[in-house]
Amino acid sequence: MKLARLIEFLRNRLKTVVWVCMAVLALLVLWDATSVDKSDAHTGLERLPAFWSVFGFIGCALIVIVSKWYGHAGIMTREDYYEEPSGKEEEAGPRR
């Protein structure tokens, strides 16, 4: 299977792949800062170089942290939570 071999090839050179990705990110920011026509921007803020990079990165971190906090605040629970307890009857306790 050729595709699997390609993936293996890339996995064996993970460091290089990471460096290439970093270079792409840097180039993207450079391109945005220098030559992108920003007349389509909707707000003044967006004209700052790399505004959307910062937005994406902070947004991603925010989503992960806020969601995990929300989840661990009591929303996440054991997998058999909804299963009917066998044998003795359980009271439907509003536990949230």
Binding site: F51, G56, V64, S67, K68
Partner: protein
């Protein structure tokens, strides 16, 4: 109905019946043929109003073919081909037949020109789609299916109540744009019915519940039809309703939050349906030509990429029997092509340039920015970041890579799925890329094609903006990967209220109500029955002695009176009559003589 108009749903319903009658060797051909015929029928339908049937003083319209219904009909039929191809190897006819009835319901609702037809077909959808959950045949599927059905029946009742009130007030059953600036309670009821089908929080919990529990190919159908038919109905009736903007943005983010927590890949995708439908609902709420175009385009693109994602995860489930991230990992060696297809779906939903989401989602975001609703645009961009985080990164990473090692038997079972499943994924992938690369294909089909063709998604600013958000989200993902590690937990959602509420009701029925019933029974026996028997005894005595005595006495006196009267009677009828006439004659003569 002057001349016969072939409704596309009819082909599917007929095909569904034929499936049970056709010999086994023709079955595969029929499975391909019927959806293709439906697609061909939709391509050849000219714009206009057809299939009008008089019904109790009103007209039912089965075929309103216009720009809006055409684009939805087109993609539904296309999806039916792909979905049927994906599950073609499934032997059980009933599974295909129910899926087709479901699609037929969706097409019927889309081409319906009046509320009655719309309602009937949406009920057909609800009652046929539940089988796609039940056919998985797990005890959990049965329960999830019943919950799905109960929720949808409630939604149907809201729609029914709203439409009856509304149409009685308006004097017409026609289904069209409502007066969203001055909504009446009836309009809100109709809206509630549609919002439930579109899975708008707080009416959304049925979606991950059912879609995560459906058969591997059932979910592929489910993810396309119910919510997008609701989006169509919202486009038709509620364009420009401000409330929808808020709901849409909220649900775009809500889905993202729950997707972070989710451990089951298909439930994660289900939460992302909620998120993506949020964009469409917000588009409908903005209501400008560009926004409605965006909502339709996004629904079109969404059906394809979401089906592709569900097909990818469905393949993993079908082959390995697992859909939880904690049970999967490192499958790239076994299922590399499934990985690539799923990745294409992930890139499309994340709106990467050259993929379908890029040309559709951005229309809605731009419409938000254009209407000077900056917060709409910004929050939808944030949801985009979340979309890529999960569907583009989390799903492929934790199934096909990751540090987790699946159990040996899971690992041994893993392999690329059968050819027809691969073919369906390939077709959907190619379409996702085609739509992203050649925009006129989709844009020409939209309700306002002139406005759509003016829109240019591929500007350097838009490409740079999107790539920055997405790629830096990717950077964030790999930096925060430890925090994102899936946990073998479930997340409570609003279905908690009816799941535990149902249990509380049962408990209430078993415990307090039953004891109350026993208590009342005992009370009745002690305080009711015993005194009652005593009173009955007394009443009996009273009846026997006093009443009977009185009645007997009365009867005795009447008999005595009768006996005496009888003596005055003469035996002969004629004599009696003569006597009577004589008395009458005397009276008349006396009257004439004395009164005059």
């Amino acid at each position: 109905m002057n001349n016969f108009w072939l409704h596309p749903s009819l082909i599917l319903l007929l095909g569904g019946v034929l499936l049970f009658l056709a010999p086994a060797r023709l079955k595969k051909g029929l499975l391909l043929l019927a959806p293709i015929l439906v697609f061909a029928r939709i391509l050849t339908m000219a714009k206009g109003t057809y299939g009008t049937v008089p019904f109790f003083g009103t007209d039912l319209t089965f075929g309103r073919v216009d720009a809006l219904s055409s684009v939805f009909g087109y993609i539904m039929a296309l999806m039916c081909i792909i979905g049927t191809l994906y599950g073609m190897h499934v032997k059980e006819n009933a599974q295909h037949a129910t899926a087709w009835v479901y699609v037929a319901g969706s097409l019927g609702a889309i081409y319906a020109g009046d509320y009655i037809t719309l309602f009937l077909f949406s009920e057909v959808m609800a009652f046929s789609s539940v089988f796609l959950v039940w056919f998985r045949r797990r005890p959990q599927s049965l329960a999830a299916g019943f919950r799905y059905l109960l929720v949808h029946v409630s939604g149907g009742l809201a729609l029914l109540g709203g439409m009856v009130l509304h149409c009685k007030a308006q004097g017409s059953w026609a289904f069209g744009q409502l007066d969203v600036a001055h909504p009446t309670p009836a309009i809100y009821l109709i809206l509630a019915g549609f919002l439930l089908n579109a899975a708008v929080p707080p009416l959304h919990a049925w979606l991950p519940d059912a879609y995560g529990e459906a058969t591997f190919n059932g979910s592929v159908f489910l993810c396309a039809f119910t919510t997008k038919t609701a989006v169509y109905a919202l486009c038709r009736a509620f364009a420009g309703m401000d409330l929808l903007i808020y709901l849409g943005v909220a649900m775009a983010l809500y889905g993202v939050v729950y997707a972070v927590l989710e451990n089951d890949c298909r439930r994660l995708l289900a939460y992302h349906i909620i998120s993506q439908v949020g964009y469409m609902v917000a588009g409908v709420g903005i209501g400008t030509e560009m926004a409605i175009n965006g909502a339709c385009a996004h629904a079109f693109a969404h059906i394809l990429y979401k089906a592709l994602l569900f097909m990818g995860c469905g393949s993993v489930l079908y082959m390995t029997g697992e859909s939880k991230f904690t049970e999967l990992g490192g499958l790239w060696k076994k299922m590399p092509w499934t990985f690539v297809f799923t990745l294409i779906g992930g890139l499309s939903i994340s709106a990467f340039p050259l993929f379908s989401g890029f040309v559709s989602k951005s229309m809605i975001v731009s419409a938000g920015f254009h209407e000077r609703k900056l917060w709409v645009g910004m929050l939808l961009m944030l949801a985009s970041s979340g979309t890529f985080l999960h569907t583009g990164l989390k799903v492929p990473y934790f199934i096909w890579f990751g540090k987790n090692k699946p159990k040996t038997e899971v690992w041994n079972r893993a392999a690329e799925p059968p050819g027809n499943m691969m073919a369906a994924m390939l077709i959907a992938s190619l379409l996702c890329i085609f739509i992203g690369c050649y925009t006129p294909y989709l844009y020409n089909m939209l309700p306002y094609p002139l406005e759509a063709l003016k829109y240019q998604p591929y500007t350097s600013y838009h490409i740079s903006e999107t790539l920055q958000v997405l790629l830096f989200t990717g950077l964030g993902f790999f930096l925060l990967i430890k925090k994102l590690k899936p946990e073998a937990l479930i997340s409570l959602d609003l279905d908690w209220f009816y799941r535990m509420g149902g249990r509380a009701f049962l408990w209430l029925a078993q415990k307090p109500i039953q004891s109350a019933d026993t208590f009342v029974g005992e009370l009745y026996r002690v305080a009711g029955l015993v005194p009652l028997m005593f009173t009955a005894l007394l009443a009996g005595r009273f009846d026997n002695t006093i009443i009977d005595g009185a009645v007997d006495g009365l009867a005795e006196s009447v008999r005595g009176l009768g006996r005496r009267l009888r003596l005055a009677q003469r035996g002969e009828m004629r004599q009696n009559l003569a006597l009577a006439f004589a008395v009458a004659a005397i009276l008349i003569v006396a009257f004439l003589l004395f009164v005059r």
